[in-house]
């Protein structure tokens, strides 16, 4: 087999050296009756060419050639070929977690740069070396808030990504956390009026997302004040990190939980992405996940190591801040390279193009009779529209024109079946925006 660097004669030679008569001898500790008598029923073995054929055939069964207006937590952005070229260098791709600092300085320095970039983006003081994704980052941020406040009640906006909320529920269930959902107003922002101050008094955290799942930016300074007013922490989720190129960072939040997919990671049908937790220095010892820190060797040379490991499972076991071990290092590296390329200027320009394209699309779509904006709050590259019919029905017809239409909010908000979330990034050509508008117009003109 092409991956195995041994000839049969070498195998025999090694068995002899071991003093075994046959390979079976080495498995003698496995009770006879549990040893497989027949080969496994698996497809293959396949040659490299057949493997490529198999996956190319699968790719044909997907949405190649379709234009998609989906965002809702995963975003199509321009990616230079440079990061991918670098992360494919064996030295990065095939190395392990940098526990042995002396021969892992490459990975460690890059993580240190990643942590720095995440702090700069979020306006926070410390960031970790990555979490699995945005949903688990948000969940871990809430658990962190619980540890920091020693309170159990958590208020979470209904406008937080529905799947993020589901994950939080799964984790919260057996940790005795009480979750209360908070609705939204006509602006699409958190309904502050619905926050019962008495209840909030004992709360661990107020959890919001900005831009939220409806595409609307939350007024974080105001929300921070409310939360802090009753000793609760403000936990802010960010699903569209590119917004931070032009949108005010969540500097007032106590903990930021971010999905880094937009920072140079492919959609890849849901993962792998890169979650991030950023917070204030004073909270660092309650933070989950790996941290790289700067230090020196005996000769005073600067170097980097994984540090504050006493928070982690491999040292503290059941007392650890989290069970996370393997994280998303390779994509933290990809995001680091991506952001270094974009730089100060580039990141802002990308964000501004998103804003411009989304505003253009919104204007084009609002020209269609019966189509109007659903919420009045400020939006970045996503916005919710109200249609005269079910979005699902409209999408079914759009699909025939190779357009993947707005995300039907009805999926997660049963009362919003006629509302759809439209995402338009810098990658969307004006002509395609116009094609979408024309198609929807045609569809709506047809009598149902």
């Amino acid at each position: 087999m092409r991956y195995l660097p041994k000839s049969d004669s070498e195998r025999k030679e090694m068995l002899r050296a071991i003093g075994a008569n046959s390979i079976e001898d080495l498995f003698s500790t496995i009770p006879e009756r549990f040893r497989l008598k027949h080969p496994l029923h698996l497809p293959g073995p396949l040659s490299e060419a057949e493997i490529i054929q198999y996956f190319q055939a699968r790719a044909e069964e997907n949405a190649r050639g379709y234009t998609s207006f989906l965002g809702a937590g995963v975003y199509q952005h321009l990616r230079s070929v440079v990061p991918d070229a670098i992360i494919q260098r064996g030295e990065f791709l095939t190395s392990y977690t940098p526990y042995q600092a002396e021969i892992s300085q490459g990975t460690l320095a890059a993580i240190f740069e990643f942590q720095t970039l995440m702090c700069q983006l979020t306006g926070q003081e410390v960031a970790n070396a990555s979490m699995y994704d945005g949903s688990t980052a948000l969940t871990e941020a809430v658990l962190m808030a619980e540890r920091l406040t020693d309170r159990r009640h958590v208020f979470i906006a209904r406008t937080v990504h529905p799947e993020y909320r589901q994950v939080l529920q799964t984790y919260a269930k057996h940790l005795g956390l009480e979750l209360s959902e908070v609705g939204f107003t006509a602006s699409g922002q958190l309904d502050v009026a619905a926050l019962d101050p008495r209840a909030l008094a004992g709360a661990a955290a107020l959890v919001v997302q900005s831009p939220n799942f409806l595409g609307v930016l939350e007024n974080l300074p105001a929300l921070a004040e409310i939360a802090h007013g009753s000793g609760a922490l403000l936990v802010t989720g960010i699903a569209e990190a590119v917004s931070l190129g032009t949108v005010r960072p969540p500097a007032e939040a106590d903990i930021v939980a971010m999905e880094g997919q937009s920072l140079g990671v492919a959609p890849s049908y849901g993962g792998p992405y890169v979650g991030v937790i950023a917070t204030r220095e004073k909270n660092v010892r309650q933070m989950p996940g790996r941290l790289a820190g700067q230090t020196t060797d005996a000769q005073g040379r600067r170097g980097f190591v994984l540090t504050l490991a006493t928070r982690e499972q491999h040292i503290r076991r059941e007392k650890a801040t989290s069970n996370i071990c393997t994280n998303e290092a390779l994509f933290a590296l990809a995001a680091t390279i991506h952001l270094c390329l974009l730089g100060k200027q580039g990141l802002r320009e990308v964000a501004e193009q998103n804003l411009a394209k989304a505003r253009f699309a919104q204007a084009e779509l609002e020209k269609i009779p019966g189509v109007k904006r659903a919420f009045s709050g400020p939006t970045f590259n996503e916005f919710t529209l109200e249609f005269p019919r079910s979005v699902k029905l409209i999408n079914a017809e759009l699909l025939r024109e190779k357009i993947i239409g707005p995300l039907p909010l009805g999926q997660s908000y049963p009362d919003q079946t006629k509302r759809g979330l439209v995402c338009v990034t810098e990658t969307m050509p004006r002509t395609e925006i116009e094609r979408l508008a024309a198609a929807i117009r045609r569809i709506l003109e047809k009598p149902v």
Partner: protein, 504 residues
């Protein structure tokens, strides 16, 4: 000689300049990326969002050109060790060859480009990949049902425990505790706590195996499950695994298997056949997906039929050749992460499995062969605390070298000077000063022999010149780093102030 010259500004590795942090190369106005021209009217952010919602330029954000980015990260990469450079004998981590074709197919347009929320009828390709992988993993483990959602082994553990808890709850009592052998990996107890259980550690017997009599005492009606790693972290198969399962089942408790060491079993025996109820796999170990300096991974969970109703949503279903995601699962434990898991990792694992087919057994055989060959080669040079036959890894201790004041970490660091990555040190906890060595099937006899030579040479140095070993490594860009200082006054991000001089 040249090393002496203090004016040489290069890293220990010859031929490349030393490299500071990217922020230290930044200069206003440099750029590494340009956008296509905007084809719609520009928008003024402040007008569009309102001044209160707009940010100023990001202070200290890098400004560098493309060539500088390429050089910066290429130079950094040369300070890493990697499987592509040589043997990476980290016990329990299964650092095997990461096939290049897997990287190729994971990047195909039509796979890497797909959005997880796109309608199932334009995602059949992705769903079929997931379905095919599910079938393969169930066949390899001999289990009945599966979820691919967990992001890594630790999350797999949590998911598995939540499934056990859900089933027990449906029976009226979730129970209180989960038993964990003292040889277990740290994620096991950490996961138990998040699942709302107490950890009860149980001692291994003199052979490093679970003491079944001992176990019998422990298992009671408060016991939800036992988490066993099989082969255990000392690389030994739990010979009495069936009896262990029986003990648990007789008390209504379940057997959870941490499948991180499945590289010793694939194609040889199936957990589903020897009594395991719930288990996870680490696809970034046994199934060759790249570790990438710490991740990503994937930790699918396989279960027996009785657990199926509780699997996380969504569940992949197949109706006459078409695939769909079923969200409507009233008894599900819920989601453990967004979307369908680390698709890109799952895809690579399938590519790996397809490459071997039933031949995956040969990989397992070679992995065990290498471990035993190295064990044989080092016996007599290093202390072997547990004598039972090894499977995929061999665990020694530094007992002999301790006499000369040399410990496992010293030996590990010295190994670097011999051109190898260290083995896993100081784990499992049941072996004081452990040397945990897992070569995997990817190492040639030649590489194994080089490793044995190196280890023997170090054993000799430990006697004749312990200082040389205790101060190792001597050939790296930086020496041993001050971890205490790093933790006492943490510097966790670059600031114009904190940036010291680059190593030279």
């Amino acid at each position: 000689m040249s090393q002496e010259s203090s004016r040489i500004k290069k890293a220990g590795r010859h031929i490349s300049q030393n490299e500071g942090l990217i922020f230290e190369k930044s200069a206003p106005g440099k750029r590494g990326f340009e956008l296509p021209p905007l084809d719609v009217p520009p928008v003024d952010a402040t007008k569009a969002l309102g001044a209160a919602y707009v940010r100023d330029a990001i202070e200290g954000f890098p400004e560098v050109s493309e060539i500088e980015v390429i050089r910066h990260f290429t130079r950094l990469s040369t300070w890493n060790y990697a499987i592509d450079l040589g043997m990476y004998p980290l016990g329990s981590c299964t650092m095997k060859y990461n096939p290049r074709v897997n990287e190729f197919v994971a990047r195909l347009d039509g796979l890497a480009s797909e959005h997880p929320s796109q309608p199932a009828n334009v995602a059949q390709g992705c769903l079929r990949i997931l379905s095919d992988l599910q079938k393969c993993l169930l066949e390899i483990t001999g289990m009945d049902a599966i979820t691919l959602q967990p992001s890594a082994g630790a999350q797999g553990e949590l998911t598995g425990l939540l499934l056990i808890r859900a089933l027990l709850e449906s029976q009226g009592n979730p129970r209180k505790k989960v038993l964990i052998p003292d040889s277990a990996h740290g994620t096991n107890p950490a996961s138990v706590v998040i699942a709302g259980y107490e950890v009860q550690n149980i001692k291994s017997n003199a052979h490093g195996q679970i003491d079944t009599d001992h176990l019998r005492e422990f298992v009671d009606n408060d016991t939800a499950a036992l988490m066993v790693t099989n082969p255990s972290t000392i690389g030994v198969f739990e010979e009495r695994i069936a009896e262990i399962a029986e003990i648990l089942h007789s008390r209504g408790a379940f057997l959870y298997m941490d499948g991180a060491n499945m590289n010793a079993l694939a194609g040889i025996t199936r957990p589903g056949d020897f009594g395991v109820d719930v288990m996870h796999l680490n696809l970034h170990k046994t199934f060759s997906t790249p570790h990438g300096g710490g991740g990503p991974g994937a930790g699918p969970v396989m279960v027996k039929t009785i657990f199926e109703p509780y699997l996380p949503v969504p569940v992949l279903i197949e109706k006459d050749g078409r695939f769909a995601l079923d969200q409507n699962r009233p008894r599900s434990i819920g989601r453990v992460r967004a979307y369908c898991g680390n698709f890109g990792v799952l895809l690579r694992a399938l590519a790996y499995t397809l490459a071997y087919g039933p031949g995956i057994r040969q990989a397992t055989e070679d992995a065990v062969l290498n471990a035993n060959y190295i064990r044989k080669g080092l016996e007599g040079h290093f202390d072997l605390p547990y004598k039972l036959p090894s499977m995929h890894e061999a665990v020694f201790s530094d007992a002999r070298q301790k006499k000369h004041g040399v410990n496992t970490m010293d030996i590990a660091k010295r190994l670097i000077d011999y051109g190898f990555h260290p083995y896993t040190t100081a784990f499992p906890l049941i072996v004081p000063g452990a040397l945990m060595i897992e070569p995997t099937e990817s190492e040639s006899k030649e590489e194994c022999d080089l490793f044995i030579d190196a280890m023997r040479a170090i054993a000799e140095e430990a006697e004749k010149n312990p200082q040389l070993v205790k101060t190792a490594p001597h050939s790296t860009r930086v020496g041993r780093l001050d971890e205490v200082a790093a933790a006492r006054k943490p510097v966790l991000r670059w600031k114009p102030s904190t940036s010291g001089e680059a190593a030279d």
